[in-house]
Symmetry: D2
């Protein structure tokens, strides 16, 4: 398939953060080109954003429904191969549905949906469409996260015992001084756009997904203590969760937006009977592997001792750091493989792909809603999805 | 008072770990000298230990009751000024009681007692004795822990929101391969000597005490999930705890002896509305202070910008690291001041002392028993001491 | 100028490392598109590389002279706006000259030339051309390097005293076991393609350039001890250099390709009378600022306290790490501004640009040759460019 | 030998730094007791210091000659077994000579002497005395330094290629603002007390000794650039040195007292053909071992994988950090073994001891004088001791 994939985007106009990340991730490897978009529900803002990206004005839309319809109607050698969805949580499923139903593959930001019920209903939409749906739980794109997963799978750590996944941020703490501050994503505080949770829905779900990706373990039940520290807010800005995974594995997941001075301090530790691993998102090229009776090891990206899982998604030699955008681009690369297969009638491959799916999204929504339900019930043990 | 303090020791014979630490802590500053001891209930072991320390054989005992009695009967210029107690948990209170009742000051290892009930009963013993009783929650002796406490007290961090205190160790995980391994303190696994808990009683209590020392906050209630991972054991080797502190502060305390590859990875993070601190026991000379909108700071021991709390317990210039023994010795120094006061009839000073007391010990026992009770009750919220 | 810049490339075919980096750097921001290339002197390899990048076969060339000529002959709305040169050192100047003479802007990999004499001669070529010439001393593209430069310029560190810049790598040490190994860039070992130096020419020059960029200081003289440790090689694989900068500032520059186990361990420390900074390429989002009598600070990319120099070249919020490719892309962004100016007849801007120029390249060549000359003269003090 | 060693001290009165370190090092293990001293040439200061240490006033002297004479005249069961010398450099040899000639063993601070000539003459004094002479190059006492030495000796790193040893401090930079500041050891600036060098003599010699201890390599020649940055001073406060070791090994040694914001940033890296090690004094419990093609390792003190060299001088389990005083105490322990042997007529043991000797001291003085001579000769290559 000797051409770049053609990409559209919904959301991500001027001033938005995550849209730019998706575009850079798509651009990086020179295998995707942005050709259409509905960047904002504000027509002028959408138009200006289209200019920023040098788009043909006729491919810049002001409604996602119109975009899905008109793009689908374009000749096969012009229309977008997939759309990236970077809108508010409450629009993820409606927008994705519109494009899937129009026969267009989808890459969508997380969390999957506004609610678990909506997410569950959406699974069928994806399945019926026969199209690719990828969810950007981007931290799973880091090479050393894939290395961590491979090490766990290899059994080198022995039987797993415990997982500690944490994601403290501090950006919202500025709202203690000035309510207008800390409002990087102020729609996230609004139950009408964000759903039942702010902090757990935005970043707790990343910690949960990372643990799930690395260990493959499902949560059996959890006991959550969510807190709204910032006065006047309706959704959580902090949460601490006890977790019981399958196979008797115990865990802690916690997340915060008011951990003053922390940035994106996503960290995970996985302990087994014979060894353990830890990975820190802010220093992503290193994976610490600890043993009972051998020197502690630091596995570094780009080395010959890396397994194929990490090696296959590495762009630079060791010591030249890769980071957030490259990891994000790995999700795009993996989804692109599926999309190219889909275009060529070969989707899905029997051996599968390495990107987060709608099922991961449903598990994420089940986690979020279980955490909220548990917290409302004084941290009672709650089964996700029940 | 122009002489060294005379110290006795109960426990700590050949092969014991913590007894040696107490002796090094006592020796370090040249202000205390070991002159008597009952190092083991095994007379030969006690005798040999006495030889190791070059003691007069007449001051080496085989029963602590005998030691308390005979030392008390010695002339004032010979008898010990205090005893250090480094025996199993179940003997802490009986031994301490014997010496206090004999009019001898006591420095005792933690946890305070075999049970909360015993601990509570012991408070009166201490008070009636009029003697000094110090508990070696030694991590509070680190200069940068004192700096952390001073920073919290200063209000620079704003209103406190959250505390995360963790103490993962991995030494016991070797027992998964060989039940005889990982048995550094095998009496700790035995409910008859250790009490209701192993992991929380041994190290969880350090994490709890550290949080309490730095923030001054009491635990209102907790929800605990303790686990016994090692087959055949009766007490916990891992525990994860949600905490509600006074003033709406939320927290996590966790501890583990099966976190393979971790050593003594005691860490604490305290978050306020304007900033946060973090301290890592394995790199104790640094205190990280994080702000909302200023560069992250690393406060290092021995600098002129350190407050008097840290500066007053510092022995070396900056950059020459101090560590565990020096921190332990700071507890001895602080207790020594009280003991010297006591000898000179000036105990207690109105302004108090900076060492852990019997009240800290009771709080610790209440924490341990609440954690065990909560865990038995499926992590139900439980009030310590209730 | 409402379109992407059109880029050509000379070198960088399949299997080459640095060509891919240049392409990713160009792609990242969606403002440049690769449309032509001469990727290899091997026609088949060049053709296949063109396919990899989905190029029009008519724009894939097998000789750079042909490419320069034919591209220049294309209509203004088709021909490349600039060429990226990623060939061996001995071809940098000939290729760049061909394109500049054809009226095409140039971005060129470092070192500038095969020799200082060639470099000096090339300055006139650039000046006469009136075109943009940018040299990819890419480490200067890191935001926190720009922050470091701004801090030095601000005078906060006081009068500068000392600079320590080091760049140890270990990749070539595998050649001790197997001469064929460690040959990532085997043309670098060959004096006919690499010039008078391997290690200093390849990476020592990065350390030198970084020091120059951050401090603005020129080297007055240096004393160098270069070594060829790997048997059978003709050029240096290690070098240690004493440096005397302007204003009495003293320095050390060292580089190595045989520092087993080091990756791209480029580090710099700059000391002034009132404070100092240190930056580590492998953890590029942090800049450590140390003071005489205040807590050590870690300035982190993406914060509001960053100056405009760092803030202006930042793509992600704090805590989401940026790395090597993003820094490289910053050189492309800065050069792109100049190229867009050039296209629009506004080059050069009076206020200048922030990318390495031909003058930096000449200084680099002077440094390399002085180091080699000094070393041949038993580390005698040698003035660069003299 | 069933008693504590009796120790005397010359120097180290109130206000002195290093004297206190020697006393803590001696106290730590409870095997040495301070019984006599000449703490100051100021009689009142010496007397008060004696009171601080609870000494018998008859054993507190005001002249070292008197002390040597009177102590030697005491009965064998009272007189000191050894003296610790912590005076200014110019007095090291005279004081040590007085005690050795009086038949008393000596532990002496570094550098060995005021000059190389004096040091060379002193070697005979030591040899003729038949007594123990130990020099406190204390950094060699760190367990992980001994582990480093064992790893080098094992050949695991392959053939050695390069050594980088650095010791930047910043304390003296305060003198740029106020000449009276930065004067921790103001006699060190005075050629009459310090000798020909301040910075290299005080700390450069530690870096040199550390390299020598770990690798066993002697310096063949060096090229040094020493600088006096602080106005009004006569001796160096900074120095950068190129080194040629035996066997073709190349090196850099540098030291500084004006590296603003650095504390005691002594670091060493040793590179071989197959791997390398690095050790940082400010985090002394870790030794980083890097390999060509295996994950980087962190060897940590107190583990079963440590060799007997590190294991034998370790007091605490892993994860409970040891630091500066413990390392210093290891020198005292090693010297104590020799002193106990000497008392029992068994000195020297055929297998030797692990403490720095007079020969290390001579090598150190040769290094210092060669550095000064080279620097005066515009960094000409200079052979130590020639």
């Amino acid at each position: 398939m000797n051409r770049k994939l053609r990409m559209g985007m919904v959301g991500g106009g001027r001033g938005a953060f995550i849209g730019g990340v998706h575009r850079m991730a798509a651009n990086l490897d020179g295998k995707i080109e942005l050709v259409a978009g509905c960047f904002s529900s504000d027509p002028e803002k959408s138009r200006l954003s289209g200019e920023d990206f040098y788009l043909d004005p006729s491919r810049v839309y002001t409604s996602y429904e119109e975009m899905a319809q008109k793009e689908a109607a374009l000749p096969a050698d012009q229309r977008i191969d997939f759309v990236s969805i970077v809108v508010r949580n409450n629009l993820h499923v409606p927008v994705a549905t519109a494009f899937l139903n129009a026969g267009i593959n989808v890459i969508c930001d997380k969390p999957l949906a506004f609610s678990l019920a909506e997410a569950k209903g959406f699974v069928d939409v994806v399945k019926k469409s026969g199209k690719v749906f990828a969810l950007t739980h981007n931290y799973t794109g880091y090479p050393m996260v894939k290395e961590a997963r491979a090490i766990v799978k290899s059994g080198k750590l022995g039987k797993l015992l415990k997982i500690v996944a944490e994601y403290p941020q501090g950006y919202a703490a500025s709202a203690f001084k000035d309510a207008a501050d800390g409002a990087i994503s102020n729609w996230r505080m609004d139950p009408n756009t964000s759903g039942v949770s702010n902090c757990i829905g935005d970043i707790g779900t990343h910690a949960e997904n990372l643990a799930r990706y690395i260990t493959g373990l499902e949560i059996v039940e959890l006991a959550a203590e969510l807190t709204t520290f910032i006065p006047g807010r309706h959704l959580d800005d902090d949460g601490n969760i006890l977790v019981r995974y399958e196979n008797g594995v115990k865990g802690i997941i916690y997340a915060s937006q008011v951990s003053s001075g922390d940035e994106n301090n996503l960290n995970i530790r996985v302990y087994g009977t014979e060894g353990s691993i830890e990975w820190h998102q802010e220093h992503p090229n290193e994976l610490v592997v600890k043993w009972l009776d051998k020197p502690r090891e630091t596995w570094r990206r780009g080395n010959t001792y890396n397994g194929p899982e990490a090696g296959g998604v590495t762009r630079l030699p060791f010591g030249h750091p890769e980071a957030f955008i490259e990891a994000f681009a790995n999700v795009y690369l993996a989804a692109s493989e599926a999309i190219r297969d889909e275009i060529q009638g070969k989707f899905p491959r029997p051996e599968g792909y390495d990107f987060p799916t709608v099922d991961d999204g449903v598990a994420g929504m089940a986690f979020i809603e279980a955490a909220v339900a548990s917290s409302k019930n004084n941290a009672a043990w709650t089964k996700p999805g029940a």
